[in-house]
C-alpha cells in the first residue's frame, strides 16, 4: 500500500479522542496511571470496533510521541529544545541544511556516539534534528497522527517504515535510555513498536 493512498483512505474514519477515552472507560479499561508506562495492545482488546481500537492504540502511543524526549528534537522551529522542561537548546543551535546543525555548530561536536554521563550529555552516533515538516512540538495527537501518516510530512515513510522508525531506529531508541536526569519516554521501545504495529494493523486510524 502506497503512502498517499493510505492517507486518503484514513481520512474517512476519524474519531474524537475524547469519545475514545470515554469508550475505554465504559469498557472498563484502566489507563496506566503512571505516565511512565505504556499499555500493551492487549489492553485495548475490549474495544470491538477496529477503527476505534486503532485510535486507542495511537492515543496510547502518543504518550511517547508527545514526550519531551521526542518533541525536543521534533521542534516547532529550527531550534531544538532540551531537558524535561523542554527549554530552548543552549547554546542556540539550529537544524541546518542536513538536520545535523549549522556549519559552525554541528550536533556531533557535543553529542558523541553515546551518552556521556559524567557531564550529563546525551549522545548517539547520528544525533540530529527531525526535518521541519516533522515538527511535533505543540501539536495535538490528531495533528501528529495526520502528520506521521502523510508521506509528504513523515520523510516519505510507508507505514512499515514508520513501524521500523519508531520500533527499531536506535536514535529513537535513545528516548528510552536518555541518561542523566532525563525522564525516559514511557514504556519501552519494544512496547511502542507493538502499539505502532497494532495501530497499522487496525487501519492506522487517527484521532480527531
Amino acid at each position: 500500500m502506497s503512502g498517499p493512498c493510505a492517507s486518503r483512505s484514513w481520512s474517512g474514519t476519524l474519531f474524537l479522542a475524547g469519545s475514545v477515552a470515554g469508550l475505554l472507560a465504559a469498557a472498563g479499561i484502566a489507563f496506566a496511571a503512571d505516565s511512565g508506562t505504556l499499555a500493551p495492545p492487549e489492553a485495548f482488546a475490549a474495544i470491538t470496533d477496529p477503527a476505534q481500537r486503532s485510535v486507542a492504540y495511537f492515543n496510547e502511543l502518543s504518550k511517547v510521541l508527545t514526550h519531551p524526549r521526542c518533541t525536543n528534537c521534533h521542534p516547532a522551529t529550527s531550534r531544538p529544545r532540551q531537558g524535561d522542561g523542554a527549554r530552548p537548546h543552549q547554546p542556540p543551535v539550529f537544524r541546518g541544511e542536513d538536520g545535523f546543525g549549522t556549519a559552525s555548530m554541528r550536533c556531533g561536536s557535543c553529542h558523541g556516539a553515546a551518552n556521556f554521563d559524567p557531564a550529563g550529555v546525551p549522545g548517539h552516533a547520528l544525533w540530529h534534528l527531525a526535518p521541519a515538516e516533522m515538527a511535533w512540538e505543540g501539536k495535538t495527537q490528531a495533528q501528529i497522527c495526520a502528520q506521521i501518516s502523510d508521506p509528504e510530512r513523515n520523510g516519505r515513510r510507508s507505514l512499515a517504515d514508520l513501524v521500523a522508525h519508531i520500533g527499531d531506529d536506535s536514535l529513537v531508541g535513545w528516548a528510552w535510555a536518555p541518561g542523566g536526569n532525563r525522564t525516559p519516554a514511557p514504556g519501552s521501545q519494544k512496547q511502542a513498536k507493538a502499539l505502532v504495529e497494532a495501530w497499522v494493523a487496525t487501519g492506522a486510524v487517527c484521532p480527531k
Binding site: P92, S104, A119
Partner: protein, 171 residues
C-alpha cells in the same frame, strides 16, 4: 581505562591510559597542564572550552571539551589557544583581537579565537559574498559567551581580518 593517542598543536601525545570518565577539558588542564583551554560552565553552554579539531579531509571544526570525554579525541589532531602563535609571532586574527581591544578579562578569548580561526579557514575554502559576512560571523560566534565585551569588538576584529583580504575570504 582506555588508551588514547592524539596530536595537540602538532605535538604527539600518547599512547596514554585515561579513565573513560575523564573529560577532554580535564585531560588538557590536569594531565597536560595546558590551561589555555578554559573551564566555564561544564555544560557546553559558554564554549570557553572549545578547541579546534582538524579532520583528515582538511576541514576543521571547534568542539567543546568540558562535556566530551578525552577518549573521543583518540587519533585526532587538535589545536588549542596555545598553538596559534608561532615563535612569539601572533596570527592575523590574534593581532586583530589585540588591536581591537576585543576582550577584557580574556577568559572567553581562547574559545572566540578558535571559532574565529575555524571560520576564517572555512571562508578561505568556501568564500562568501560580502553581503553575508556579518550574518555568517554572527552565526559562527553565537555559541560563545562573553560577559565583558558586549561582543562588538570581537565581531569587528573577525570582520576586519576578512575585509583586509577580500580576495582570500569573499566570493
Amino acid at each position: 581505562m582506555a588508551t588514547i593517542t592524539l596530536s595537540v598543536n602538532g605535538r604527539a601525545h600518547g599512547p596514554l591510559a585515561v579513565r573513560e570518565d575523564l573529560t577532554m577539558n580535564d585531560f588538557l588542564r590536569e594531565v597536560l597542564g595546558m590551561t589555555g583551554t578554559k573551564f566555564g560552565c561544564g555544560a557546553a553552554q559558554c564554549l570557553s572550552c572549545a578547541i579546534i579539531v582538524d579532520h583528515p579531509d582538511g576541514t576543521s571544526a571547534t568542539m567543546p571539551t568540558c562535556i566530551v570525554p578525552a577518549t573521543a579525541f583518540d587519533g585526532r589532531k587538535v589545536r588549542t589557544v596555545e598553538g596559534h602563535a608561532k615563535d612569539g609571532r601572533l596570527t592575523t586574527l590574534q593581532q586583530s583581537f589585540v588591536a581591537h581591544f576585543a576582550f577584557q578579562c580574556g577568559y572567553c578569548t581562547p574559545g572566540f579565537l578558535n571559532e574565529g580561526q575555524v571560520l576564517l579557514e572555512r571562508l578561505e575554502r568556501a568564500p562568501i559574498p560580502r553581503a553575508d559576512l556579518e550574518r555568517v560571523i554572527s552565526e559562527a560566534l553565537d555559541g560563545h559567551l562573553c560577559r565583558c565585551s558586549g561582543y562588538v569588538k570581537y565581531h569587528e576584529a573577525v570582520r576586519d581580518v576578512v575585509l583586509a583580504e577580500p580576495g582570500r575570504y569573499l566570493a
